[in-house]
């Protein structure tokens, strides 16, 4: 018995969410009196992989062949299943990123495992192995008891603090056999804005809605986001009108986010919007209408015109940063 994490990387660097998964797996392993291991797939240096030792991972398997450099969910699921078998891992932990969510169900079928997607709690230690996840688009929680012997948990980014539990670790090359038919999909191109904070993983999100009147007014939103190291987001009508790309649309039919801080500017707070943001830890609303429904779902608010308040907020943050550098 052991706990295995899939340590996801982006361009050779382990993602922050992989360290969250490691910290989570260490807690689960401690509960089960066993060890936590990792599998990495892709072009990642051993030195980078050794960082996982700091979060309690004892052994790291790495698959770094050219064939595996691009993400193909079918092939990656085969590799992780082989790793789980060779390490006798009956619990696999990964992060509920776009790639994590695309491969975990395939892994669940391979391992005949129970699978909880988007977990927000550790499993209970009562034999039922119950894990909490969000349901009904943020309007409820579901507690899922994982009865199968093998278990797979995809944890929500930003739901678990990274915790240090340093110990020595070894990195070993792993050479599983993967069948040719696992590679029917071919990645032709990866288009990624280089210096942008990724929305699902962001700790702070600055989001704006139709109250901003038009795409030409997003300069101040981006400036505020840059200052805070935040990702930018928007409401659905804004992306429908092509003021902003669809990849920024949050809510029931867009991306669900759970940052530490969500700042909503000129957004009314419709139930479908709230569905994607209500699990944010702290919500700030800036809206000129004191009756806007979003104020009922917020921790802090400013009633005022965005074109007046946001520039002032930018100045206030600059001042704050100057004194707290």
């Amino acid at each position: 018995m052991s706990v295995l994490i899939y340590a996801e990387n982006s361009k050779g660097k382990l993602k922050k969410s992989s360290f969250e998964a490691a910290s989570y797996a260490y807690s689960v392993a401690s509960m089960l009196n066993t060890d936590a291991y990792a599998i990495s797939i892709g072009e990642v240096s051993n030195e980078e992989l050794e960082k996982l030792a700091k979060y309690g991972i004892k052994k790291i398997l790495t698959v770094n062949t050219a064939q595996m450099h691009n993400f193909v969910n079918q092939a990656y699921a085969s590799v992780i299943a082989e790793a789980a078998k060779s390490l006798s891992s009956n619990v696999v932990v990964l992060s509920a990123t776009f790639s994590g969510k695309a491969l975990a169900p395939r892994l669940a079928v391979k391992l005949q495992a129970a699978y909880v997607d988007g977990a927000i709690s550790l499993p209970t230690n009562d034999g039922a192995f119950t894990v909490r996840k969000g349901a009904f688009s943020g309007k409820a929680f579901a507690d899922v008891s994982m009865s199968a012997v093998n278990k797979i948990i995809a944890i929500n980014p930003n739901s678990f603090p990274i915790a240090e539990n340093s110990q020595p670790a070894v990195v070993e090359a792993f050479a599983p056999t993967v069948k040719d038919t696992d590679f029917r999909t071919i990645v032709k191109e990866i288009i990624q804005a280089a210096d942008k904070v990724s929305l699902p993983e962001a700790e702070i999100v600055v989001s704006a809605g139709r109250g901003l009147k038009g795409p030409e007014n997003w300069g101040m939103i981006e400036e505020l986001a840059d200052l805070l190291g935040a990702a930018t987001a928007c409401s659905k009508p804004v992306s429908d009108a092509h003021w902003r790309p669809h990849s920024e649309h949050v809510g029931q039919t867009g991306i669900a986010v759970s940052p530490n801080l969500y700042i909503a500017i000129g957004i009314s707070g419709a139930i479908q919007h709230l569905a994607g943001v209500s699990s944010s830890k702290v919500i700030v609303v800036i809206n000129k209408d004191p009756e806007a429904p979003f104020f009922k779902a917020a921790d802090y608010g400013i009633v005022g015109d965005a074109f007046d308040v946001v520039p002032k907020l930018i100045e206030a943050v600059k001042e704050f940063k100057a004194t707290h550098a």
């Binding site: 969910n73 079918q74 990123t97 776009f98 790639s99 969510k101 975990a104 169900p105 395939r106 669940a108 079928v109 005949q112 699978y115 997607d117 988007g118 039922a128 119950t130 009904f136 688009s137 943020g138 309007k139 409820a140 929680f141 579901a142 507690d143 899922v144 994982m146 009865s147 199968a148 029917r184 999909t185 071919i186 990645v187 032709k188 990866i190 288009i191 990624q192 804005a193 942008k196 990724s198 699902p200 669809h246 039919t253 530490n260 801080l261 139930i271 479908q272 569905a275 702290v282 919500i283 921790d299 802090y300 608010g301 400013i302 009633v303 002032k312 907020l313 206030a316 001042e319 704050f320």
Partner: protein, 245 residues
């Protein structure tokens, strides 16, 4: 081209969520059910593709007879025919096993699902089906083109997108951007009444997990308002009280 679109029957997006006293079941009293919004996007793209290249679009739902209204709506939007597997959908694994069982010898070129159902939010069915049927599966697809038996897809990734090429048959889960959902017209609604809806009995599926309890999140306290003339105060609160900056 033969396309299968998986449609889920979900509470309308404005629904207030309530559970029965047992805390394990959703209270459907007064709830309006709709086609899962992403499944509507998938269905529309399937219709666009078959209208341009010829073919049929079958919709499939795992549900009890109460979901027939939602299935008829899919037929009204333009699906050729429909299949309902007569069971209460226990979880995504159950749903995918039923769909794989039905689809395995039907020769579909393309199977589409939504990126996730807005009730269970699992984002599971497409990948589960892919593994069960040993087919490629591509999740959270924003664009799908098909030419000469090969699909070109754009998949969402953190901070961008990936362009993927894949031979048919394949499974994809549809996201915003793949198509603009269609609204059924009068003729569609009339013809939907007579289109075939086949009811199939379910197969047995092992039980790997159970939802033992639903709970509603606690509301936030009263909002703390800061005057627009004292924006500095907000920054201070976010630093010293909320500890988020």
């Amino acid at each position: 081209m033969k396309v299968l679109v998986c449609i889920s029957n979900v509470p309308d997006t404005t629904t207030k969520i309530n559970f029965n006293d047992d805390k394990t079941s959703f209270n459907t009293t007064g709830v309006q059910f709709i086609i899962n919004p992403y499944d509507e996007i998938a269905l529309t793209r399937a219709l666009e593709l078959t209208e341009a290249q010829g073919g049929t679009v079958t919709v499939i739902n795992i549900g009890d007879p109460s979901t027939d209204a939602t299935i008829r709506k899919a037929l009204a939007i333009g699906a050729t025919d429909a299949v309902r597997i007569n069971a209460i959908p226990r979880d995504a694994y159950f749903v995918a096993t039923q769909i794989a069982g039905y689809a395995k010898d039907q020769g579909f070129d393309l199977i589409l699902t939504g990126r996730e159902s807005i009730d269970y939010n699992g984002a599971q069915v497409a990948s589960l089906l892919g593994e069960m049927m040993d087919l490629p599966s591509i999740s959270i697809v924003k664009s799908l083109q098909i030419e000469g038996g090969t699909a070109t897809l754009e998949r969402e990734i953190e901070g961008g997108k990936e362009v993927i090429s894949c031979p048919l048959p394949l499974i994809a889960s549809a996201s915003e951007g793949m198509a603009e959902p269609r609204i059924p017209n009068m003729r569609g609604i009339m013809s939907a009444r007579t289109k075939p809806l086949t009811v199939v009995e379910p197969v047995e599926v092992p039980n790997l997990q159970n939802i033992i309890k639903f709970e509603k999140p606690e509301g936030r306290g009263q909002v703390k308002l800061v005057s627009a003339d004292e924006v500095n105060k907000l920054v201070d609160l976010l630093h010293s009280e909320a500890k988020t900056i």
